[in-house]
Each structure stands twice: as C-alpha cells, then as structure tokens.
Symmetry: C2
Subunit: 250 residues, 2 copies
C-alpha cells in the first residue's frame, strides 16, 4: 500500500541567505539538495512511509554559514523536527522508519540484516566509489580512465547480480522494497543514467532496476537520465548553478 | 552481571600458512588481530555477553590468501560459525548482540540510538582519524605535525566531554556500558596510551575512561599502554613481526 506524500518544497534560490525560521511545531523539515543521492535515500524512505515533510535545499558548492549550526559537517541530508536534529542518511532513514507509522522498512532478521549491511558496504566501496570516479572523468575526459572506471562499475554490478540471485527475492529486502533497497537505489539510478554500462548485459540487475522503477516511492523521487547528466556535468566543473537546474519542486 | 568468557586463542605464528579447517559445529570463530581496535570492539561485545569463541589472528601486513575467501576485503574482524560468515566490526557486533543471549547491548530508543550513531561518526572522523595521523608521525617524527594532530585529538575529546555531559549518564549507553561504548572505547584506550593528551585536563572524559577501566569486559580485553606503544611503533614502520609481540593469549 502506498501513502501519498505531501511535500512542501521551499527551494532556496537565494543561496547563502539568512537562516530560515525553525519549522512549525510538529513539522518535519529535510535539509537536502535536489540531486544528492544521499538525500534521495531519505526521500524514498519518507515517500514509502507516506511521511509529510517540507524541504530546504542547500547549495553544497556554496554552503550558508547557518547550516553548520544544524549539521556541523555541513552535509545533507539533515532532518529537523521540534528540538530534534539528525543527520547521516542511513541514521536518519533508520530513525524515520522507527518513529513514523507506515510499513516498516528495516529488515528485522539479524542474519539477513547483517548480510544486507555487508552488501551495502561492498556497494559503497565499489559501485559508488567507481561511479564518482567515472563522473569526475566527465570533466577530465580521459577515455582510458573512463573505460577503467566503467569496467569496475560493471564488475560491481555483476557482484550485485550474484547477491540478488542468492537472495532469491525480487528486492534485496524481500517481496517489496525495504530500507536497504532505498539506500542502494539512488546510485543505481545515477549509474544507469551516466555510466555506459548496458544493464541488459546484467539481466538480474536490469530486472531489479525495472522492478524498482515500478515502485511508487521511486516514481515520486526519481530524476530523468537527462537531468542527471546535465547536473553531473555542471557539478564536476564546480558550477554553483548546478543545483538550480530542472523544475523547482520534484 | 558478568558472564565469564572462555576464549580459545589459536594464534598463528606461522603466518601465511594453509587455510585452517572450518570451526567445529556450533563453535564461533573470530578472525582477528591482537592489537586491532576494530577486533577489540567485537571482543568487548563477546566478553560483555559472555560468548565463548575461538580466535585465529591474521597478520595484516602479510595476509594469507585463503583469508580473502572468508572476507573479500581481507579486513578484520570476521566471524564464522557453521555456514555463516559476517564481517565489519559494527555489523558483526550488532549481529552478535542480536543472536546471542546475555544482556542486550544495543540502544533501543530510536532517538538515543540515532544520537549515539551520529556521535560515533563524529568520533571516527575526528578522534580516530587524528589518532592515526598522530601515530604515523611516530615514524616520520615531525614534531609540528605531531603537535597539530595531538591538538585535534584533544579538540575531539573536548567534544566527547560535551556529549557525555549532555548525555547525563556515566556511560554513553546509560548506567552501564552498551554497544556504543564498546565501539568507541578501543580508540580511547589507544589515544590514552599513545597521544600526549592528559585526560585529567578533560575531567568528563577522564571519569568515563576510568569507569570503563572498571568494566569486566574491558578488563578482559585491554592492553597495557606499553604494549600499545611497542606495537604501534613497529606497525608504522611496516614490521611484520609487530603482531607477535606480547603474550600469545590475551
């Protein structure tokens, strides 16, 4: 069952502007950045659980000073509700899953949970790291390096296929997407958009990606391949306007 | 209540030797390294819960090939029991806490758990990172760099004092040490032994460290300051014999 999400997007085109007033009592605020995969993790979790929230986007290439009073590391996402401030995408996502109603996304079986977490570490160290290395080459444009990083991403996706096959369920978390699926998906969306790996060559990952595309939470939070490519090309050149491309509210 | 721990230490002085036979049915095996703080995390958890286990130590400066079949990243700790293999110190520790009897170490309150996890991220990015930078200077011996890293560690410990004060309990997890305490403690032990920060100048951290020293799990897993210093001096110079110093069974 899917709970419709009410998202009030307060997108700060006036970057570096004054600190916003605190959120109204009981209102969950997300400090994010439209194209950040770590923010998308949280947005997917909020969408899957049907949690209403408002969003203030931070320009990560020109961070306003006040933001460091919310998150001393200046990273996104951060959530704020009443006197509670929490950051780090996995920690926030787990917190949101624990305290809000809606279907529970966390895997409760200890062994399955451990295997999912171990796989997320692998995914981060391989697919994600090599995706970013590839993305940086969109600026340097060293074809040899691009090919090498693309090959490493492909190798990581093949290991992902093996993990999914061993799992024996359509999604990592089971018969429907769970927390681990939502933590993994944002970089898969970007890899599919930006790295020239043909997912059809890795059928199990293609099937997984296609299934995720049908998920209502994913539908409400995904970006087009074209927008991802436009953003990343601006981002790697340090263009502070990168965050303002595309529609204001997504 | 403290459960006595039976630890069978199979310390491999013959490094790079043949793959050991699998653990006997139902026996929990830890692949570790005597002085590794991430292994000590798990040892503390096992001790606090009174979980019997055997240990095979891996020489991290000369890893045997067979070890990569247990943990593809070649890191420690890894646990093996029957057909289950799990690695990454936090994941293994959570798993052990979930599946073994004994007192539960994980913090269950969602907000408190999130705050503890956020603090562990801070601790890792500040105290731990700067501890290692300081330790590496034991080889290079650049006094200016040593002073700078020492000052950063001290700053991190002051933030730790503030966190503990806000917490309002003797330990991070409450009235007795819990999982977060055991995940944090190993680097605090090393900082106290190796970095010239006088904990007396940071009374809240000193009180915390002293209280941890009285914990039975800590007593069973700690190393002397002298052994830490001897190990780290050998380790930073790449001495493969570093892992064999001290008594065989600790």
């Amino acid at each position: 069952m899917f709970f419709p999400v009410v998202i009030i997007v307060t997108f700060l085109r006036l970057l570096g502007s004054a600190e916003p007033t605190p959120p109204a009592k009981g209102v969950l605020r997300v400090y994010g950045m439209k194209f950040c995969p770590y923010v998308q993790r949280l947005k997917l979790v909020l969408a899957a659980k049907g949690v209403a929230h408002e969003t203030i986007n931070i320009n990560l290439l020109s961070k306003p000073k006040w933001y460091f009073t919310k998150n001393p590391m200046g990273k996104v996402p951060t959530i704020e509700i009443d006197d509670v401030v929490i950051y780090e995408s996995d920690i926030v996502s787990e917190y949101v899953d624990a305290v809000y109603p809606g279907r529970k996304l966390c895997t409760t079986n200890a062994l399955k949970s451990a295997k999912e977490k171990m796989f997320l570490v692998y995914w981060g160290n391989n697919c994600v790291v090599n995706y970013y290395k590839y993305a940086r080459e969109l600026k340097n444009n060293d074809q040899e390096a691009k090919d090498a990083f693309c090959a490493l991403v492909k190798e990581g996706l093949e290991k992902t296929a093996t993990f999914l096959e061993n799992n024996g369920t359509p999604y990592i978390c089971g018969s429907q997407p769970g927390l681990t699926d939502y933590l993994l998906y944002p970089h898969l969306e970007r890899i599919n958009a930006i790295v020239p790996v043909d997912l059809k060559q890795i059928p199990r990952v293609k099937a997984y990606f296609d299934a995720m595309q049908e998920d209502e939470a994913v539908k409400s939070c995904r970006f087009s391949n074209e927008l991802h490519l436009e953003f990343i090309k601006k981002y790697v050149t340090g263009d502070v306007g990168a965050y303002d491309i595309g529609p204001v509210a997504e």
